[in-house]
Amino acid sequence: MTHVAGHVSAPRSHPVVTGTGAVTPYGGGVAALWDGLAAGRSAVRAIRGFAADDLEPGRAAEVPGEREDADPAGAFLLAAANEALEDAALDPAAVAADRIGVAVGTTLAGMRIFEEWLGGAATAAGRVAAIPYFAPAARLADAVGATGPVVTTQLACASGTAAIGVGAGWIREGRCDVVLAGGTDLLCRYVVAGFNCLRATADEARPFDAARRGLVLGEGAAVLVLESAAHAARRGRGPRAALTGAAAAGDAVHMTAPDRDGRGAAHAIRLALARAGRDATSIGFVSAHGTGTPYNDAMEARALAAVFGAGGVPVNSIKGAIGHTLGAAGAIEAVLCVEVLGRGVVPATIGLESVAPECAAIDVVRGAARPADVAACVSTSSGFAGANAAIVLERP
């Protein structure tokens, strides 16, 4: 058992994942996500969805297709949830309404609408209601008729991972039979200009690479259907994965830069492992945050080496492929983990050609996908204000 100071409760019945859904810059669907990663394709292009002539860099990974919904961030989330429910063969109407929960992470929610509304544009009542951070989760809850817990987690870029942890906790505590857990975020001028002014962006993201210069932003959504093992068994649905551990921890060091030694990130991973009842040596894959910024990747390499040992576990990042999708990132990466557990293959880290010396202590999969018999994996995320979150997923 990984040591964490203080008492750690004995594991209760772990929630299982019975369905996944995603909307990413590769298009709609988990299959599109996997196929894009397997093909080594980057979805980063010049921005087309909003005015970007004065934005430098002006590149991002946008979800393709027309936006017909007045609330695109909410629409991404609903589309991902619908795919996940279909994958789980679950009709929400067949579950007691107060036994269904919704946990969603987001950093922007209706910010595209807010941009126009703040500028004085007349905005329909329905669009105004979509502005606040709690709106996407509320919209999803109302769409499926959920009257159980409905919460939005906001840990900056760790929001999606944190939401999955919160939702898993409700099932573990016996408060819900089903939780739709995930994240959503939508690109806009507001956020691209913001990361640009922090000098955190680059034309391409090159996670852990010696030549990395910054992140590229992306958008999308992903949802996991979490169920109690008993509920899934009663309806004859085999699980795709078990969610056995989750934790969050603050760096408590700096507001915008990560703790250089990665102590907060390492603590979140260790606590998640302890709650899963797992030793670090039993982990077969880590989905890293891996933004491609100089500070994050160096910090993360230190944190992962501290927890798993030098070269101790295969690692990848998908942010070179689909950009940094902010509040959706942790949720999309959780979907990736479910795929890795099932397929036995770790996709290569797109954008990585030559591992930086400060990242050499970790085994980052690059060049080609790697077969790997993964029984358990970790997904880790970090964000502004020293936020860190980690989850542990296992083969059922």
Binding site: T107, G250, M255
Partner: protein
């Protein structure tokens, strides 16, 4: 059934544009006060409230067994507005690094973590104006999951002109403080703090349409989690006027107490303020019911330490 958790001390504070009050920040130790005076107001409120409850961190001190949860209705929306106005007026050159770095709703949690050395879970949640009790729920979950012995829980909102415009257009009640924060320590925090009450598990839900079936089920779940029946508790709402909706959902006969404050609308702070008012009384446990115009519902049983 999870055992009740100790509530150790709490604070509730509001201010308006007409009557600004910087007493919350002015009382801070010099270094933290200097920081609070430089940053955006959500972070300043969080630092000020935490200062009433926690000792500052020693040099380099980071405690991994104590964390912080912030609950909010609108998060950093006021800061977002300030950033967006400059961007809209000046284009990309108007994007402010200082403001943009504060346009994350968890900035307040980060500030508290740094100032008070809290390296445990650092979480920010929103469930509309029920964000305070949602934060309490998240804090309790961290303690129950293990590896954490205490959590600072704060619920705060800053409402600027854009926020008031949103409230009006969304049809929420008018009349809310410009700045509002409530905070308490759940479990065992750093520093000696008296126990002022105990708290059962929080129940969260959605109203669920006409008749409020979600209100009934959320109340029932909070009572069941505390091992109590409706006859065992006195019922309190967190906002004036909510008693009508609660009575309607529960069948009309329920006796429902209203909050002491006069505000037509308190946002995320309402839930924690309601809990602190409840434990200030003695005798019968109180079921605190928090209804939000966005359709979120929360309920929790609280006991006075004197019981």
């Amino acid at each position: 059934m999870s055992p009740p958790l100790a509530i150790r001390a709490g604070v509730v504070w509001t201010a308006t544009d007409a009557a600004p009050d910087d007493g919350l920040v002015a009382a801070l130790p010099a270094a933290i006060r200097a920081r609070a005076e430089r940053i955006e107001r959500p972070g300043a409120l969080a630092l000020g409230a935490a200062g009433r409850l926690l000792p500052p961190a020693g040099a380099g001190e980071i405690r991994r067994d104590v964390g912080v949860v912030i609950g909010t209705a609108f998060g950093c929306l006021a800061t977002n507005a300030a950033y967006q106005r400059r961007l809209a007026a000046q284009g990309a050159p108007g994007a402010s690094p200082r403001l943009f770095a504060a346009t994350v709703s968890n900035a307040a949690a980060g500030e508290v973590g740094i100032a008070y050395g809290l390296g445990g879970p650092a979480v920010t949640v929103t469930a509309g104006a029920a964000g305070g009790l949602a934060a309490l729920d998240a804090a309790r979950a961290e303690i129950d999951a293990g590896g954490v012995r205490g959590m600072l829980v704060a619920a705060l909102d800053v409402v600027d002109a854009a926020g008031r415009r949103w409230l009006a257009e969304a049809g929420w009640p008018a009349g809310t403080p410009s700045e509002q924060v409530a905070a308490l320590v759940l479990g065992d925090g750093p520093g000696p703090l008296p126990e002022v009450g105990r708290l059962g598990p929080v129940a969260l839900g959605r109203t669920g349409g006409v008749g409020g079936p979600g209100i009934r089920s959320t109340v029932a779940r909070a009572l069941a989690a505390a091992g109590l029946a409706a006859a065992d508790v006195r019922m309190r709402v967190t906002r004036r006027g909510d008693a009508v909706a609660v009575r309607a959902a529960l069948g009309g006969a329920a006796v429902v107490e209203e909050p002491a404050h006069e505000w037509p609308l308190l946002l995320a702070a309402a839930g924690l303020a309601g809990v602190l008012e409840a434990v200030a009384g003695t005798g019968t446990p109180a079921l605190v019911v928090d209804l939000c115009p966005s359709g979120h519902v929360a309920a929790v049983v609280a006991w006075s330490a004197a019981r």
